[in-house]
Amino acid sequence: MTPIAGEEIRALVRPGRVHRRVYADQAIFNLELERIFGAAWIYVGHESQIKNPGDFVATRIGRKPLLLVRDAEGQIRLIHNQCAHRGSMVVASDGGHTDEFRCCYHGWTYHLDGRLKAAPLLHGYPSHFDPKNPEVAMRRVPRVASYRGFVFGNLAQDGPSLEDFLGYMTTSFDDMIDRAPDGELEVAGGNFKHTYKSNWKLYLENLCDAAHPLFVHQSSIDAAQAQSDAAHSDGSGEIAIRQMRQNGAPYSFWEAKVGIWTYPNGHSFLGDYHDDAKLVAALDDPMFRDYVAVMEAKKGKAETKRILDTRRWNSNVYPNLSFMSQFQQLRVVHPVSVNETVVHTYTFRLKGAPAKMFENAISFANVVNGTGSLVLTDDLEIYTRIGFGLLSAGAEWLEIGRGYEGDLADEHGGRRGKNSTSEVYIRNMMDAWLDLMTADKPGAQRVAGGGSMVQAAEIRP
Protein backbone atom coordinates (compact mmCIF):
# COMPACT_ATOMS: atom_id res chain seq x y z
CA MET A 1 0.00 0.00 0.00
CA THR A 2 1.32 3.43 -0.93
CA PRO A 3 1.64 5.44 2.26
CA ILE A 4 -0.34 8.67 2.45
CA ALA A 5 1.64 11.51 3.97
CA GLY A 6 0.32 13.20 7.10
CA GLU A 7 0.17 16.52 5.25
CA GLU A 8 -2.07 15.00 2.58
CA ILE A 9 -4.43 13.67 5.25
CA ARG A 10 -4.48 16.94 7.18
CA ALA A 11 -5.41 18.76 3.97
CA LEU A 12 -8.67 16.76 3.78
CA VAL A 13 -10.20 18.52 6.78
CA ARG A 14 -10.74 22.26 6.88
CA PRO A 15 -12.62 24.35 9.43
CA GLY A 16 -16.25 23.33 8.98
CA ARG A 17 -15.54 21.27 5.86
CA VAL A 18 -14.37 17.80 4.96
CA HIS A 19 -13.18 16.45 1.63
CA ARG A 20 -15.20 13.68 -0.08
CA ARG A 21 -12.11 11.44 -0.20
CA VAL A 22 -12.55 10.90 3.54
CA TYR A 23 -15.68 8.88 2.71
CA ALA A 24 -14.94 7.64 -0.80
CA ASP A 25 -11.23 6.82 -1.19
CA GLN A 26 -10.27 3.14 -0.83
CA ALA A 27 -6.71 4.07 0.17
CA ILE A 28 -8.04 6.24 2.99
CA PHE A 29 -10.32 3.38 4.05
CA ASN A 30 -7.39 0.95 4.15
CA LEU A 31 -5.45 3.39 6.29
CA GLU A 32 -8.44 3.77 8.64
CA LEU A 33 -8.43 0.02 9.30
CA GLU A 34 -4.80 0.30 10.34
CA ARG A 35 -4.73 3.62 12.16
CA ILE A 36 -8.23 3.92 13.63
CA PHE A 37 -9.39 0.33 14.09
CA GLY A 38 -5.79 -0.64 14.83
CA ALA A 39 -5.33 1.96 17.56
CA ALA A 40 -8.62 2.98 19.20
CA TRP A 41 -10.55 0.99 21.80
CA ILE A 42 -13.22 -0.95 19.93
CA TYR A 43 -16.33 -2.40 21.59
CA VAL A 44 -16.33 -6.20 21.21
CA GLY A 45 -19.18 -7.39 23.43
CA HIS A 46 -20.78 -7.51 26.85
CA GLU A 47 -19.75 -9.79 29.70
CA SER A 48 -23.32 -11.14 29.98
CA GLN A 49 -22.82 -12.82 26.57
CA ILE A 50 -20.10 -15.05 28.04
CA LYS A 51 -21.31 -15.80 31.55
CA ASN A 52 -19.61 -19.18 32.12
CA PRO A 53 -16.18 -20.66 31.36
CA GLY A 54 -16.29 -22.00 27.80
CA ASP A 55 -18.86 -19.46 26.58
CA PHE A 56 -17.82 -17.52 23.47
CA VAL A 57 -19.22 -15.11 20.89
CA ALA A 58 -17.88 -14.15 17.48
CA THR A 59 -16.97 -10.49 17.21
CA ARG A 60 -14.65 -8.28 15.21
CA ILE A 61 -12.41 -5.26 15.17
CA GLY A 62 -12.51 -3.62 11.78
CA ARG A 63 -12.54 -6.58 9.43
CA LYS A 64 -10.61 -8.92 11.73
CA PRO A 65 -12.80 -11.82 12.95
CA LEU A 66 -12.28 -12.41 16.68
CA LEU A 67 -13.68 -14.54 19.49
CA LEU A 68 -14.64 -13.12 22.86
CA VAL A 69 -14.22 -16.01 25.29
CA ARG A 70 -14.57 -16.81 29.00
CA ASP A 71 -11.61 -19.13 29.59
CA ALA A 72 -11.34 -22.06 32.00
CA GLU A 73 -10.19 -19.76 34.82
CA GLY A 74 -13.06 -17.33 34.21
CA GLN A 75 -10.82 -14.73 32.52
CA ILE A 76 -12.15 -12.81 29.55
CA ARG A 77 -10.04 -13.41 26.46
CA LEU A 78 -10.13 -11.83 23.02
CA ILE A 79 -8.43 -13.99 20.40
CA HIS A 80 -8.17 -14.00 16.64
CA ASN A 81 -10.56 -16.50 15.07
CA GLN A 82 -7.76 -17.95 12.99
CA CYS A 83 -5.76 -21.17 13.06
CA ALA A 84 -1.98 -20.80 13.43
CA HIS A 85 -1.45 -23.59 10.90
CA ARG A 86 -3.00 -22.54 7.58
CA GLY A 87 -4.90 -19.43 8.69
CA SER A 88 -8.37 -20.94 8.48
CA MET A 89 -11.28 -19.43 10.41
CA VAL A 90 -11.66 -21.85 13.34
CA VAL A 91 -15.17 -21.08 14.60
CA ALA A 92 -17.92 -20.65 12.01
CA SER A 93 -20.85 -20.00 14.36
CA ASP A 94 -21.96 -16.75 16.03
CA GLY A 95 -21.33 -18.14 19.49
CA GLY A 96 -21.84 -21.04 21.87
CA HIS A 97 -20.11 -23.10 24.52
CA THR A 98 -17.06 -25.33 24.14
CA ASP A 99 -14.20 -26.97 26.02
CA GLU A 100 -11.66 -26.14 23.33
CA PHE A 101 -11.44 -24.73 19.83
CA ARG A 102 -10.62 -27.18 17.06
CA CYS A 103 -9.75 -26.32 13.49
CA CYS A 104 -11.67 -28.49 11.02
CA TYR A 105 -8.83 -28.54 8.49
CA HIS A 106 -6.07 -30.62 10.19
CA GLY A 107 -7.42 -30.92 13.71
CA TRP A 108 -5.21 -28.45 15.58
CA THR A 109 -6.85 -27.76 18.94
CA TYR A 110 -6.56 -24.71 21.18
CA HIS A 111 -7.22 -23.87 24.81
CA LEU A 112 -9.99 -21.35 25.49
CA ASP A 113 -7.33 -18.65 25.98
CA GLY A 114 -5.93 -19.33 22.51
CA ARG A 115 -2.84 -21.38 23.39
CA LEU A 116 -2.15 -24.39 21.18
CA LYS A 117 -3.30 -27.54 22.96
CA ALA A 118 -2.43 -30.28 20.48
CA ALA A 119 -1.84 -30.94 16.81
CA PRO A 120 -1.68 -34.26 14.94
CA LEU A 121 1.57 -35.35 13.30
CA LEU A 122 3.72 -32.90 15.28
CA HIS A 123 6.78 -35.05 14.51
CA GLY A 124 6.53 -34.01 10.89
CA TYR A 125 7.37 -30.35 11.52
CA PRO A 126 10.93 -29.02 11.33
CA SER A 127 13.09 -28.79 14.42
CA HIS A 128 12.64 -25.01 14.70
CA PHE A 129 8.86 -25.42 15.00
CA ASP A 130 7.95 -24.92 18.67
CA PRO A 131 4.33 -25.65 19.64
CA LYS A 132 4.95 -23.74 22.91
CA ASN A 133 5.82 -20.57 21.03
CA PRO A 134 3.08 -18.07 21.99
CA GLU A 135 2.88 -17.02 18.36
CA VAL A 136 1.79 -20.54 17.43
CA ALA A 137 -1.68 -19.94 18.82
CA MET A 138 -5.04 -18.38 18.12
CA ARG A 139 -3.35 -15.10 18.90
CA ARG A 140 -4.54 -12.75 21.58
CA VAL A 141 -5.52 -9.15 20.93
CA PRO A 142 -2.88 -7.16 22.86
CA ARG A 143 -5.23 -5.28 25.16
CA VAL A 144 -8.70 -6.12 26.50
CA ALA A 145 -10.52 -4.08 29.12
CA SER A 146 -14.05 -3.80 30.50
CA TYR A 147 -15.95 -0.82 31.70
CA ARG A 148 -18.60 -2.22 34.08
CA GLY A 149 -19.33 -5.19 31.80
CA PHE A 150 -18.82 -3.50 28.42
CA VAL A 151 -15.75 -5.12 26.85
CA PHE A 152 -13.39 -3.33 24.50
CA GLY A 153 -10.34 -4.58 22.63
CA ASN A 154 -7.33 -2.69 21.37
CA LEU A 155 -5.02 -3.98 18.64
CA ALA A 156 -2.24 -1.61 19.73
CA GLN A 157 0.19 -2.59 22.50
CA ASP A 158 0.42 0.96 23.81
CA GLY A 159 -1.84 3.94 24.21
CA PRO A 160 -4.30 5.41 26.67
CA SER A 161 -6.22 3.16 29.04
CA LEU A 162 -9.87 2.40 28.28
CA GLU A 163 -11.10 4.74 31.02
CA ASP A 164 -8.89 7.58 29.76
CA PHE A 165 -10.13 6.93 26.24
CA LEU A 166 -13.80 6.99 27.33
CA GLY A 167 -13.38 10.00 29.62
CA TYR A 168 -16.70 11.61 30.52
CA MET A 169 -18.58 9.08 28.34
CA THR A 170 -18.35 6.61 31.22
CA THR A 171 -21.32 8.53 32.64
CA SER A 172 -23.49 7.33 29.74
CA PHE A 173 -22.59 3.70 30.51
CA ASP A 174 -23.29 4.43 34.18
CA ASP A 175 -26.67 5.82 33.18
CA MET A 176 -27.66 2.59 31.42
CA ILE A 177 -26.38 0.34 34.22
CA ASP A 178 -27.90 2.46 36.99
CA ARG A 179 -31.34 2.00 35.42
CA ALA A 180 -31.22 -1.71 36.35
CA PRO A 181 -32.71 -2.20 39.84
CA ASP A 182 -30.11 -4.94 40.47
CA GLY A 183 -27.35 -2.83 38.93
CA GLU A 184 -26.68 -5.28 36.11
CA LEU A 185 -27.46 -5.53 32.42
CA GLU A 186 -27.89 -8.58 30.24
CA VAL A 187 -27.81 -8.82 26.44
CA ALA A 188 -31.08 -10.43 25.38
CA GLY A 189 -33.75 -10.61 22.71
CA GLY A 190 -31.65 -11.23 19.58
CA ASN A 191 -29.74 -8.88 17.35
CA PHE A 192 -30.41 -7.12 14.07
CA LYS A 193 -27.84 -6.87 11.32
CA HIS A 194 -28.47 -4.15 8.81
CA THR A 195 -26.35 -3.05 5.93
CA TYR A 196 -26.00 -0.15 3.53
CA LYS A 197 -23.81 0.73 0.58
CA SER A 198 -21.85 3.61 1.94
CA ASN A 199 -19.08 4.61 4.31
CA TRP A 200 -19.04 3.46 7.95
CA LYS A 201 -18.51 6.97 9.36
CA LEU A 202 -21.87 8.25 8.08
CA TYR A 203 -23.75 6.08 10.57
CA LEU A 204 -22.51 7.71 13.79
CA GLU A 205 -22.56 11.08 12.05
CA ASN A 206 -26.34 10.69 11.70
CA LEU A 207 -27.12 9.53 15.23
CA CYS A 208 -26.82 12.92 16.90
CA ASP A 209 -28.17 14.83 13.91
CA ALA A 210 -31.14 16.77 15.23
CA ALA A 211 -31.75 18.47 11.88
CA HIS A 212 -32.60 15.36 9.84
CA PRO A 213 -35.66 13.65 11.35
CA LEU A 214 -38.15 16.26 10.19
CA PHE A 215 -37.01 15.72 6.62
CA VAL A 216 -35.78 12.14 6.24
CA HIS A 217 -38.58 10.68 8.34
CA GLN A 218 -41.41 12.75 6.95
CA SER A 219 -43.25 9.71 5.55
CA SER A 220 -43.42 7.97 8.93
CA ILE A 221 -44.10 11.22 10.81
CA ASP A 222 -47.07 12.01 8.54
CA ALA A 223 -48.37 8.44 8.67
CA ALA A 224 -48.14 8.23 12.48
CA GLN A 225 -49.63 11.66 13.07
CA ALA A 226 -52.61 10.76 10.87
CA GLN A 227 -53.05 7.42 12.63
CA SER A 228 -56.26 6.91 14.59
CA ASP A 229 -55.69 5.75 18.15
CA ALA A 230 -59.03 3.96 17.98
CA ALA A 231 -57.47 1.23 15.85
CA HIS A 232 -56.72 -1.97 17.73
CA SER A 233 -53.37 -2.17 19.47
CA ASP A 234 -52.01 -4.94 21.68
CA GLY A 235 -49.71 -2.35 23.24
CA SER A 236 -46.59 -3.38 21.36
CA GLY A 237 -47.04 -0.72 18.69
CA GLU A 238 -47.46 2.12 21.18
CA ILE A 239 -43.84 3.13 21.50
CA ALA A 240 -43.29 3.08 17.74
CA ILE A 241 -46.23 5.39 17.04
CA ARG A 242 -45.07 7.81 19.73
CA GLN A 243 -41.49 7.78 18.47
CA MET A 244 -42.58 8.56 14.91
CA ARG A 245 -44.89 11.36 15.99
CA GLN A 246 -42.18 12.91 18.13
CA ASN A 247 -39.77 12.92 15.18
CA GLY A 248 -42.11 15.56 13.78
CA ALA A 249 -41.29 18.11 16.49
CA PRO A 250 -40.73 21.53 14.89
CA TYR A 251 -37.26 22.93 14.19
CA SER A 252 -37.69 25.40 17.04
CA PHE A 253 -37.88 22.44 19.40
CA TRP A 254 -34.87 20.67 17.87
CA GLU A 255 -32.85 23.87 17.99
CA ALA A 256 -33.56 24.89 21.56
CA LYS A 257 -34.67 21.92 23.64
CA VAL A 258 -32.37 19.01 22.98
CA GLY A 259 -28.68 19.73 23.50
CA ILE A 260 -25.55 18.22 21.93
CA TRP A 261 -22.38 17.52 23.93
CA THR A 262 -19.01 16.32 22.64
CA TYR A 263 -15.88 15.04 24.38
CA PRO A 264 -12.25 14.25 23.52
CA ASN A 265 -11.42 11.27 21.30
CA GLY A 266 -14.50 11.81 19.11
CA HIS A 267 -17.26 10.96 21.59
CA SER A 268 -20.63 12.70 21.90
CA PHE A 269 -24.21 12.44 23.08
CA LEU A 270 -27.48 14.04 22.10
CA GLY A 271 -29.92 15.21 24.74
CA ASP A 272 -33.37 13.74 24.95
CA TYR A 273 -35.81 15.05 22.38
CA HIS A 274 -38.98 13.66 23.84
CA ASP A 275 -41.36 15.72 25.88
CA ASP A 276 -43.89 12.93 25.69
CA ALA A 277 -44.05 11.60 29.24
CA LYS A 278 -45.28 8.22 28.08
CA LEU A 279 -42.37 7.67 25.76
CA VAL A 280 -39.38 8.21 27.98
CA ALA A 281 -40.17 8.95 31.59
CA ALA A 282 -43.45 7.12 31.09
CA LEU A 283 -44.55 8.41 34.45
CA ASP A 284 -48.22 7.94 33.67
CA ASP A 285 -47.82 4.38 32.50
CA PRO A 286 -48.74 1.70 35.09
CA MET A 287 -45.86 -0.46 33.89
CA PHE A 288 -43.40 2.34 34.51
CA ARG A 289 -44.89 3.00 37.96
CA ASP A 290 -44.13 -0.63 38.88
CA TYR A 291 -40.57 -0.12 37.69
CA VAL A 292 -40.12 3.07 39.70
CA ALA A 293 -41.45 1.29 42.78
CA VAL A 294 -38.86 -1.48 42.36
CA MET A 295 -36.12 1.10 41.80
CA GLU A 296 -37.09 3.09 44.89
CA ALA A 297 -37.19 -0.06 47.01
CA LYS A 298 -33.67 -0.97 45.89
CA LYS A 299 -32.02 2.44 45.56
CA GLY A 300 -34.10 4.89 47.53
CA LYS A 301 -36.22 7.79 46.27
CA ALA A 302 -33.48 10.37 45.83
CA GLU A 303 -31.13 8.09 43.88
CA THR A 304 -34.01 6.85 41.71
CA LYS A 305 -34.95 10.43 40.89
CA ARG A 306 -31.34 11.29 40.05
CA ILE A 307 -31.10 8.28 37.71
CA LEU A 308 -34.40 8.83 35.93
CA ASP A 309 -33.86 12.58 35.57
CA THR A 310 -30.81 11.87 33.40
CA ARG A 311 -32.08 12.18 29.85
CA ARG A 312 -29.71 11.22 27.05
CA TRP A 313 -30.56 10.04 23.60
CA ASN A 314 -27.76 8.43 21.55
CA SER A 315 -24.32 8.27 23.15
CA ASN A 316 -21.60 7.81 20.53
CA VAL A 317 -18.25 6.31 21.41
CA TYR A 318 -15.86 6.92 18.54
CA PRO A 319 -15.19 5.30 16.19
CA ASN A 320 -18.02 2.78 15.91
CA LEU A 321 -20.22 2.34 19.00
CA SER A 322 -23.51 4.02 19.77
CA PHE A 323 -25.87 3.22 22.60
CA MET A 324 -29.03 4.54 24.18
CA SER A 325 -29.23 4.25 27.93
CA GLN A 326 -32.92 5.10 28.32
CA PHE A 327 -34.09 2.23 26.12
CA GLN A 328 -31.09 -0.10 26.57
CA GLN A 329 -30.11 -0.25 22.90
CA LEU A 330 -26.61 -0.60 21.48
CA ARG A 331 -25.26 -0.55 17.93
CA VAL A 332 -21.84 -1.46 16.59
CA VAL A 333 -20.84 -0.17 13.16
CA HIS A 334 -18.54 -2.51 11.22
CA PRO A 335 -16.66 -1.24 8.16
CA VAL A 336 -16.72 -3.70 5.25
CA SER A 337 -15.33 -1.61 2.42
CA VAL A 338 -15.09 2.09 1.68
CA ASN A 339 -18.63 1.85 0.35
CA GLU A 340 -20.20 -0.91 2.43
CA THR A 341 -21.07 -1.14 6.12
CA VAL A 342 -22.77 -3.64 8.42
CA VAL A 343 -24.36 -2.60 11.71
CA HIS A 344 -25.07 -5.07 14.52
CA THR A 345 -27.60 -4.03 17.14
CA TYR A 346 -28.25 -5.37 20.64
CA THR A 347 -30.84 -4.89 23.37
CA PHE A 348 -30.22 -5.18 27.11
CA ARG A 349 -32.49 -6.44 29.87
CA LEU A 350 -32.46 -4.39 33.09
CA LYS A 351 -31.92 -7.02 35.77
CA GLY A 352 -34.50 -6.78 38.52
CA ALA A 353 -36.95 -4.70 36.43
CA PRO A 354 -40.53 -5.82 35.64
CA ALA A 355 -40.68 -8.01 32.50
CA LYS A 356 -42.79 -5.37 30.74
CA MET A 357 -39.79 -3.01 30.71
CA PHE A 358 -37.90 -5.44 28.53
CA GLU A 359 -40.88 -5.89 26.19
CA ASN A 360 -40.88 -2.12 25.84
CA ALA A 361 -37.18 -2.17 24.95
CA ILE A 362 -37.88 -4.86 22.32
CA SER A 363 -40.67 -2.77 20.78
CA PHE A 364 -38.32 0.18 20.73
CA ALA A 365 -35.55 -1.90 19.08
CA ASN A 366 -38.02 -2.85 16.35
CA VAL A 367 -38.72 0.77 15.49
CA VAL A 368 -35.22 2.29 15.80
CA ASN A 369 -33.06 -0.67 14.73
CA GLY A 370 -35.43 -3.03 12.90
CA THR A 371 -34.57 -3.76 9.30
CA GLY A 372 -38.27 -3.49 8.48
CA SER A 373 -38.76 -0.38 10.62
CA LEU A 374 -40.82 2.52 9.29
CA VAL A 375 -38.02 4.85 10.44
CA LEU A 376 -34.62 3.18 10.01
CA THR A 377 -35.33 2.23 6.39
CA ASP A 378 -35.28 5.89 5.39
CA ASP A 379 -31.96 6.43 7.20
CA LEU A 380 -30.47 3.46 5.34
CA GLU A 381 -31.73 4.97 2.08
CA ILE A 382 -29.96 8.24 2.85
CA TYR A 383 -26.64 6.53 3.65
CA THR A 384 -26.79 4.64 0.38
CA ARG A 385 -27.66 7.81 -1.55
CA ILE A 386 -24.63 9.52 -0.02
CA GLY A 387 -22.60 6.53 -1.18
CA PHE A 388 -23.90 6.99 -4.73
CA GLY A 389 -23.40 10.74 -4.55
CA LEU A 390 -19.81 10.58 -3.36
CA LEU A 391 -18.78 8.43 -6.31
CA SER A 392 -18.67 11.80 -8.06
CA ALA A 393 -16.14 14.53 -7.35
CA GLY A 394 -18.77 17.09 -8.37
CA ALA A 395 -19.21 18.04 -4.73
CA GLU A 396 -15.62 17.98 -3.54
CA TRP A 397 -15.94 19.64 -0.14
CA LEU A 398 -18.75 18.61 2.19
CA GLU A 399 -20.12 20.99 4.81
CA ILE A 400 -19.96 20.11 8.48
CA GLY A 401 -20.03 23.69 9.64
CA ARG A 402 -23.54 24.14 11.04
CA GLY A 403 -23.16 25.85 14.41
CA TYR A 404 -19.44 26.40 13.87
CA GLU A 405 -19.44 29.97 15.10
CA GLY A 406 -21.14 29.07 18.34
CA ASP A 407 -19.40 26.04 19.88
CA LEU A 408 -19.18 26.40 23.65
CA ALA A 409 -16.79 24.92 26.17
CA ASP A 410 -18.28 22.20 28.34
CA GLU A 411 -17.54 21.96 32.06
CA HIS A 412 -16.37 18.35 31.69
CA GLY A 413 -13.63 19.12 29.19
CA GLY A 414 -15.58 18.92 25.97
CA ARG A 415 -17.47 21.33 23.78
CA ARG A 416 -21.15 21.55 23.05
CA GLY A 417 -23.30 23.09 20.41
CA LYS A 418 -24.96 26.39 21.07
CA ASN A 419 -28.00 24.87 19.39
CA SER A 420 -28.93 21.20 19.34
CA THR A 421 -28.70 21.11 15.55
CA SER A 422 -25.01 22.02 15.63
CA GLU A 423 -22.73 19.69 13.67
CA VAL A 424 -20.16 20.09 16.45
CA TYR A 425 -20.24 16.34 17.05
CA ILE A 426 -19.21 15.62 13.45
CA ARG A 427 -16.38 18.17 13.68
CA ASN A 428 -15.38 16.52 16.94
CA MET A 429 -15.28 13.11 15.23
CA MET A 430 -13.18 14.58 12.43
CA ASP A 431 -10.72 15.93 15.03
CA ALA A 432 -10.38 12.41 16.44
CA TRP A 433 -10.09 11.04 12.91
CA LEU A 434 -7.23 13.45 12.15
CA ASP A 435 -5.47 12.66 15.43
CA LEU A 436 -5.55 8.93 14.75
CA MET A 437 -4.86 9.10 11.02
CA THR A 438 -1.82 11.32 11.44
CA ALA A 439 -0.41 9.73 14.60
CA ASP A 440 3.27 8.74 14.27
CA LYS A 441 2.47 5.34 15.68
CA PRO A 442 -0.79 3.63 16.56
CA GLY A 443 -1.98 4.47 20.03
CA ALA A 444 -0.27 7.87 20.21
CA GLN A 445 -3.63 9.54 20.52
CA ARG A 446 -4.33 12.81 22.25
CA VAL A 447 -6.15 12.32 25.53
CA ALA A 448 -6.57 15.86 26.82
CA GLY A 449 -9.59 17.69 25.48
CA GLY A 450 -10.63 21.17 24.50
CA GLY A 451 -7.51 22.07 22.58
CA SER A 452 -9.00 21.64 19.17
CA MET A 453 -11.71 24.17 19.95
CA VAL A 454 -9.13 26.85 20.59
CA GLN A 455 -7.15 25.75 17.57
CA ALA A 456 -10.24 25.95 15.38
CA ALA A 457 -10.98 29.43 16.69
CA GLU A 458 -7.49 30.61 15.81
CA ILE A 459 -7.71 29.48 12.22
CA ARG A 460 -11.25 30.64 11.69
CA PRO A 461 -11.41 32.78 8.58
Partner: protein
Protein backbone atom coordinates in the same frame (compact mmCIF):
# COMPACT_ATOMS: atom_id res chain seq x y z
CA UNK B 1 -73.24 -23.47 19.54
CA UNK B 2 -73.84 -21.53 22.74
CA UNK B 3 -77.52 -21.25 23.55
CA UNK B 4 -77.18 -17.55 24.39
CA UNK B 5 -75.50 -16.62 21.12
CA UNK B 6 -77.75 -15.27 18.41
CA UNK B 7 -77.88 -17.74 15.57
CA UNK B 8 -77.97 -16.33 12.06
CA UNK B 9 -78.03 -19.47 10.07
CA UNK B 10 -78.12 -17.71 6.73
CA UNK B 11 -75.23 -15.31 7.48
CA UNK B 12 -72.39 -17.72 6.79
CA UNK B 13 -71.90 -20.53 4.35
CA UNK B 14 -71.66 -23.78 6.18
CA UNK B 15 -69.03 -25.20 3.86
CA UNK B 16 -65.63 -25.49 5.55
CA UNK B 17 -62.67 -23.58 4.11
CA UNK B 18 -60.99 -25.80 1.55
CA UNK B 19 -57.36 -25.92 0.41
CA UNK B 20 -58.45 -24.67 -3.01
CA UNK B 21 -60.31 -21.74 -1.49
CA UNK B 22 -57.36 -20.82 0.73
CA UNK B 23 -54.95 -21.06 -2.18
CA UNK B 24 -57.12 -18.75 -4.30
CA UNK B 25 -57.18 -16.30 -1.42
CA UNK B 26 -53.36 -16.35 -1.02
CA UNK B 27 -52.91 -15.82 -4.75
CA UNK B 28 -55.29 -12.88 -4.56
CA UNK B 29 -53.34 -11.41 -1.63
CA UNK B 30 -50.02 -11.83 -3.49
CA UNK B 31 -51.50 -10.08 -6.51
CA UNK B 32 -52.64 -7.11 -4.43
CA UNK B 33 -49.11 -6.76 -3.04
CA UNK B 34 -47.44 -7.15 -6.45
CA UNK B 35 -49.76 -4.48 -7.83
CA UNK B 36 -48.95 -2.20 -4.86
CA UNK B 37 -52.65 -2.06 -3.89
CA UNK B 38 -51.69 -1.75 -0.23
CA UNK B 39 -55.02 -0.29 0.98
CA UNK B 40 -56.82 -3.26 -0.53
CA UNK B 41 -54.26 -5.55 1.10
CA UNK B 42 -54.87 -3.93 4.50
CA UNK B 43 -58.61 -4.47 4.02
CA UNK B 44 -57.98 -8.23 3.99
CA UNK B 45 -57.01 -8.12 7.67
CA UNK B 46 -59.43 -8.30 10.59
CA UNK B 47 -59.75 -5.29 12.90
CA UNK B 48 -57.56 -6.91 15.54
CA UNK B 49 -55.10 -8.63 13.21
CA UNK B 50 -51.33 -8.78 13.56
CA UNK B 51 -48.58 -9.19 11.00
CA UNK B 52 -45.27 -10.69 12.02
CA UNK B 53 -41.88 -11.26 10.35
CA UNK B 54 -39.62 -12.88 12.99
CA UNK B 55 -35.91 -12.08 13.13
CA UNK B 56 -34.84 -15.55 14.25
CA UNK B 57 -35.56 -19.05 12.90
CA UNK B 58 -38.21 -20.80 15.02
CA UNK B 59 -38.84 -17.62 17.01
CA UNK B 60 -41.77 -18.35 19.30
CA UNK B 61 -42.52 -14.90 20.67
CA UNK B 62 -42.62 -11.36 19.30
CA UNK B 63 -42.65 -9.78 22.77
CA UNK B 64 -39.31 -10.89 24.20
CA UNK B 65 -37.34 -11.12 20.96
CA UNK B 66 -36.85 -8.52 18.24
CA UNK B 67 -38.68 -8.90 14.91
CA UNK B 68 -38.01 -7.60 11.42
CA UNK B 69 -41.65 -6.53 11.54
CA UNK B 70 -44.21 -6.95 14.29
CA UNK B 71 -47.28 -4.83 13.65
CA UNK B 72 -50.50 -4.77 15.59
CA UNK B 73 -53.46 -3.44 13.61
CA UNK B 74 -52.68 0.18 14.44
CA UNK B 75 -49.04 -0.05 13.39
CA UNK B 76 -50.00 -1.98 10.25
CA UNK B 77 -52.35 0.86 9.28
CA UNK B 78 -49.47 3.32 9.79
CA UNK B 79 -47.16 1.13 7.69
CA UNK B 80 -49.64 1.05 4.82
CA UNK B 81 -50.32 4.79 5.03
CA UNK B 82 -46.58 5.48 4.87
CA UNK B 83 -46.28 3.32 1.75
CA UNK B 84 -48.62 5.77 0.01
CA UNK B 85 -46.57 8.81 1.00
CA UNK B 86 -44.77 10.73 -1.75
CA UNK B 87 -42.01 11.32 0.84
CA UNK B 88 -41.13 7.66 1.38
CA UNK B 89 -37.57 8.00 0.15
CA UNK B 90 -36.80 4.30 0.61
CA UNK B 91 -39.43 3.69 -2.10
CA UNK B 92 -38.13 6.30 -4.52
CA UNK B 93 -37.94 4.70 -7.02
CA UNK B 94 -40.66 2.20 -6.17
CA UNK B 95 -39.91 -1.51 -5.92
CA UNK B 96 -41.45 -3.95 -8.36
CA UNK B 97 -42.20 -7.36 -6.92
CA UNK B 98 -43.16 -10.79 -8.20
CA UNK B 99 -44.49 -13.48 -5.87
CA UNK B 100 -45.10 -17.18 -6.33
CA UNK B 101 -47.23 -19.09 -3.81
CA UNK B 102 -47.24 -22.87 -3.55
CA UNK B 103 -47.30 -26.02 -1.40
CA UNK B 104 -50.48 -24.85 0.33
CA UNK B 105 -51.67 -27.00 3.22
CA UNK B 106 -54.23 -26.52 5.96
CA UNK B 107 -52.52 -27.12 9.29
CA UNK B 108 -55.38 -26.66 11.73
CA UNK B 109 -59.13 -26.18 11.37
CA UNK B 110 -61.68 -24.69 13.76
CA UNK B 111 -64.46 -27.01 14.91
CA UNK B 112 -66.98 -25.25 12.69
CA UNK B 113 -64.63 -25.22 9.72
CA UNK B 114 -64.93 -21.45 9.34
CA UNK B 115 -61.39 -20.65 10.42
CA UNK B 116 -58.08 -22.36 9.75
CA UNK B 117 -54.31 -21.97 9.83
CA UNK B 118 -52.79 -22.23 6.36
CA UNK B 119 -49.15 -22.92 5.60
CA UNK B 120 -47.66 -22.06 2.23
CA UNK B 121 -44.31 -21.49 0.54
CA UNK B 122 -43.47 -18.28 -1.24
CA UNK B 123 -40.75 -16.89 -3.43
CA UNK B 124 -40.51 -13.15 -3.87
CA UNK B 125 -38.34 -11.16 -6.25
CA UNK B 126 -37.94 -7.46 -5.55
CA UNK B 127 -36.40 -5.14 -8.13
CA UNK B 128 -35.41 -1.60 -7.27
CA UNK B 129 -32.82 0.82 -8.59
CA UNK B 130 -30.83 -1.58 -10.77
CA UNK B 131 -30.76 -4.28 -8.14
CA UNK B 132 -32.82 -7.44 -7.64
CA UNK B 133 -33.26 -9.20 -4.31
CA UNK B 134 -34.70 -12.67 -3.77
CA UNK B 135 -36.64 -13.65 -0.66
CA UNK B 136 -38.25 -16.95 0.17
CA UNK B 137 -39.73 -18.87 3.03
CA UNK B 138 -42.93 -19.94 4.67
CA UNK B 139 -46.17 -18.10 5.21
CA UNK B 140 -48.61 -18.94 7.97
CA UNK B 141 -52.03 -17.35 7.67
CA UNK B 142 -54.86 -17.58 10.13
CA UNK B 143 -57.86 -17.23 7.83
CA UNK B 144 -61.44 -16.74 9.00
CA UNK B 145 -64.63 -16.74 6.99
CA UNK B 146 -66.85 -13.73 7.60
CA UNK B 147 -70.38 -13.18 6.32
CA UNK B 148 -69.06 -11.73 3.08
CA UNK B 149 -65.46 -12.77 2.59
CA UNK B 150 -62.33 -14.40 3.98
CA UNK B 151 -60.08 -12.32 6.25
CA UNK B 152 -56.62 -12.62 7.74
CA UNK B 153 -56.65 -12.76 11.54
CA UNK B 154 -52.87 -13.02 11.62
CA UNK B 155 -50.00 -13.59 9.24
CA UNK B 156 -46.54 -14.86 10.04
CA UNK B 157 -43.70 -14.73 7.50
CA UNK B 158 -40.65 -16.93 8.12
CA UNK B 159 -37.85 -15.80 5.81
CA UNK B 160 -35.16 -18.41 5.35
CA UNK B 161 -32.59 -15.60 5.73
CA UNK B 162 -34.37 -13.77 8.55
CA UNK B 163 -31.13 -13.40 10.53
CA UNK B 164 -28.93 -12.26 7.63
CA UNK B 165 -27.67 -8.69 7.27
CA UNK B 166 -30.40 -6.92 5.27
CA UNK B 167 -30.77 -3.59 3.59
CA UNK B 168 -34.09 -1.92 4.36
CA UNK B 169 -37.20 -4.10 4.08
CA UNK B 170 -39.97 -1.76 3.00
CA UNK B 171 -42.44 -3.63 0.78
CA UNK B 172 -44.47 -6.09 2.89
CA UNK B 173 -43.84 -9.80 2.34
Amino acid sequence: VSSSAPVRASARPTVALSVAECEQFLIHEARLLDEARFDDWLALFTDDAWYWVPSQPNQDNPRDTISLIYDDRRLLETRVRRLASPRIYSQEPRSRTSRMIGNVTIEAVDADGQGCTVRSKFQLLEYRREEQRAFGGTYFHRLVRTSTSIQIAWKRVDLINCDAPHEGLVVPF
